[in-house]
Structure formats: C-alpha cells, structure tokens
C-alpha cells in the first residue's frame, strides 16, 4: 500500500519542479526504479488516482527498470545474482551483500508541453477559470 505514498511523493516532487518552470501540467515524467524497489506494477495501479489534481494528471509515466547487480569481493567484480533476493555470487557462491544497482527510486526528468501543443482542444488546458484565477480577477 505504500505505493500510494510513493506516488504522492512523486507527484508532489513534480509539482515543485513544474512550478519552477512556470507550468501547471506536464506531458511526461521519467522515473527509474530498481529491481529491489519492487514498485513498477504497484505504481501503475495507483499513479492515475494519485496524480489527479496535480501537474501529473494525464501525463505519461515512463518507468526505466534497473536490474539488481552486486559486487563480489572474492571475484572483485560486479555480478548479477540468480534471483532478486539471493545475495550470493552466481560464480563463486560467496555472500555478496553490497548492492551496486537495484535500489533506485528516482525521478529522472520531466517533459513539458511545447507551446504549440497547447491548443484549445488540448484536454490539459483549463477551459474554466480556476479558483485561483477567480481570486485574482
């Protein structure tokens, strides 16, 4: 269930960067999830609802999966274990608890709409004044 907390952390983070760029909607967000985060599927389930009313509403969520790799001290090299939680070197069999990749949960980038894409037909253009607009008018 913490995927919802993760999705909300993500949309909050994107909101901040979108505001810095002076936009209230983004077109696409690119994130990186390590194999150990086990989040890809769960995030897809809840991203739609978590993004409602945020700058991510309607945006494409791109997830780059990062495989698990560990460092084997005995072999002195980076290895890919057999299985997600088998922290043993696939070659020498020794425990290899040092994770090199696989724990990532990162927002990599966001993609903004080009001005030319923002036509009146766009579903992402507010057709009615927002409460914020009303307040200033």
């Amino acid at each position: 269930m913490h995927e919802l907390a993760l999705a909300r952390s993500l949309t909050t983070l994107v909101d901040e960067y979108a505001a810095q760029q002076g936009v209230d909607r983004i077109k696409q967000l690119n994130i990186r999830l390590g194999e150990l985060s086990a989040m890809t599927r769960a995030l897809h389930f809840c991203f739609g609802s978590a993004s409602q009313g945020t700058s991510c509403e309607g945006a494409i969520l791109n997830i780059e999966d990062i495989p698990l790799t560990v460092f084997c001290d005995i072999c002195d090299s980076v290895k890919t274990p057999n299985g997600r939680y088998s922290f043993r070197c696939p070659d020498c069999g020794m425990p290899t608890p040092t994770v090199v990749t696989g724990r990532e949960m990162q927002l990599v980038s966001i993609e903004l709409y080009e001005t030319s894409e923002l036509t009146p037909d766009s579903p992402h253009i507010e057709q009615t004044p927002t409460p914020k607009n009303l307040a200033v008018s």
């Binding site: 269930m1 913490h2 907390a5 993760l6 952390s9 993500l10 909050t12 983070l13 960067y17 760029q21 077109k27 696409q28 690119n30 994130i31 150990l36 985060s37 086990a38 890809t40 599927r41 897809h44 389930f45 991203f47 739609g48 609802s49 409602q52 509403e57 309607g58 945006a59 494409i60 969520l61 791109n62 997830i63 780059e64 999966d65 997600r84 939680y85 088998s86 922290f87 043993r88 425990p95 290899t96 608890p97 949960m105 990162q106 927002l107 990599v108 980038s109 966001i110 993609e111 903004l112 709409y113 080009e114 894409e117 037909d121 579903p123």
Partner: protein, 285 residues
C-alpha cells in the same frame, strides 16, 4: 486488462520501459475526463522520449521523507539518543516484548516509546503502564510510519541523553521497509508461531534490518517452526543480519537483547554533541 501492470481498464495506453513488458492497449479515444495510468499519443514509448522540453531532475522519489529522516537522525545524535525502529507482522509480539524490555531497562537508561498503529491508543496505554512515556501515532489508512510523523512525535517525547527511543512501527512486513525514520537500525521481529519462510516471502524488510529477533521461543515445542531454516533464509536475503532468540513470556534470551540496547545507547551518547536549547521543529506544522 493487462495482468502485468493492471493497465487497460479504461482503454488507456500504458508505457512501461521494460523489454519484458512493452505493449500498447487500444485506446478508446479519451479526450476528456480523468485518465488513469500512463497514456498518450505515443503509444508504447521508447527511451529518448519526444521533442518536448525536457527538464533533468535526478532526485530520489522519497527525498522528502529522507530529508525528514535526516533531520530526525541529527536530532537523535544531538540529544545523545539511540533510536530503534521495531518492525514485524501484526501479532509477532512487539508490544509485549517492548513492555518487558522497558520494565527491565527503565532503571538503567532513560527510555521513550513511539507507537504506530492504524487506530486506537491501546499500545501506548500498555506501554504507559510500565511508567515509560509513550506517544501514539494513528496512521489512519496509512500502513507505515513516516519520518515526518516521527519528527512531530519527538517534539512531545522527553527522553534524556544516553537513553533510547523505541519506535514500534505499524504491524506490516512490507511498507515500513521503504521508509527511513532516522533510526540507528531496524529490528525485525519474527515469532515462531509464524512460518520460517517469512524472510524470503517478505525479503525487503529482512534485507533492511540489522537485527532479527526470533520471538515466542517458549512455543517451539508446540509448533513446527524450523529455527535453522529461518536463520538460513534470513541470511540468504541479508548475510549481515544479526539474530537473537528470546521469549518475552519466560524471559529466556531477554538479557542479551537488553545488553544490546544498553551498549548502543551508551555509544550514541558518547558520540553525541551537546543538545541544542530548543527541541526540533519542522518548518511547517
């Protein structure tokens, strides 16, 4: 509906960059209303994205929680306190073990407890019966404590230098693994009334912990729990995991656990700087 990612319920296109799972669902021409999951004109997406304006960010998604956790960790260090995050499935005996531990240690070191549950103040009440201060956090529909909640609780929890703050997380072997609270370490409790394969069924938690406590060992004659197998599974997901066996009911093994806490609490006080005059306050209420 796609059984891999759950998408497709509303005819939206979904993009997952993964060579094992790249597909497109037929769109039903949604141009208004809410759009769930990923969708867009591009269909199946590929790396490189489109010509839109790209803003590079590279930030951890849980960076807000991690920021609060860093604040908490600094607060513990400044106040010379050991913080432990106790995690387990519901019913593993965290609260009973805590109460016994507090009774045994309260004359030795200062103690404070933060209790996390979805509802009720029952656990905090049980802790307060020992005479130790406890703050109850009700997470409502939330399944885990986060560092922000703990930061607020710390403002109301007076514990003197050289002591320990024991945080009993929501009973859940999944979600609390992802949320750093600023603790020195996570302690995972597995009771012998559960299955010995819990470490490989819920590997995230056992991988995140520094110590595993096998609890309720007084029940071992009556259950089929294979201790050696549990230890082997635990070390499979976390080769560095320290393991203790105890029973809060009979007291067997409790001394080792108490000593483990006291040694670390004294070490935390020894490396600490003098405490600041004001307790930690978050920037927002």
């Amino acid at each position: 509906m796609c059984t891999v990612c759950g998408c497709g319920q509303i005819g939206a296109k979904t993009t997952v960059q993964n060579d094992k799972h790249a597909h497109s669902h037929d769109p039903h021409e949604h141009h208004h209303g809410h759009h769930h999951f990923g969708h867009g004109a591009a269909g199946v997406s590929v790396a490189g994205y489109s010509q839109g304006r790209l803003v590079q960010i590279e930030q951890n998604i849980l960076s807000k929680n991690d920021g609060y956790a860093d604040d908490n960790r600094k607060w513990f260090r400044d106040h010379g306190l050991l913080a432990l995050n106790l995690v387990s499935s519901p019913g593993a005996g965290k609260t009973t073990l805590l109460a016994e531990t507090l009774n045994a240690l309260k004359a030795t070191i200062p103690l404070g407890v933060i209790e996390g549950d979805q509802e009720t103040e029952n656990d905090a009440d049980k802790i307060r019966e020992t005479g130790v201060s406890a703050i109850q956090i009700n997470t409502g529909r939330g399944c885990h404590l986060d560092a922000h909640m703990v930061g607020h609780a710390l403002q109301d929890l007076p514990v003197e230098r050289g002591g320990a703050v024991l945080i009993e997380n929501v009973g859940n072997l999944v979600c609390p693994a992802a949320f750093d609270l600023g603790e020195a370490c996570k302690v995972v409790i597995l009771s012998v009334a559960e299955g010995e394969d819990k470490p490989i069924k819920y590997p995230d938690m056992f991988a995140a912990a520094d110590l595993m406590i096998l609890s309720k060992i007084d029940l071992l004659p009556y259950v089929d729990f294979d201790v050696d197998q549990a230890v082997e599974y635990a070390h499979r997901v976390n080769p560095h995991l320290e393991i203790m066996k105890l029973s809060a009911k009979t007291g067997e093994g409790l001394q080792e656990w108490q000593d483990w806490i006291v040694v670390r609490a004294r070490a935390a006080a020894a490396v600490s700087k003098p405490a600041p005059a004001n307790p930690k306050k978050h920037a927002h209420a």
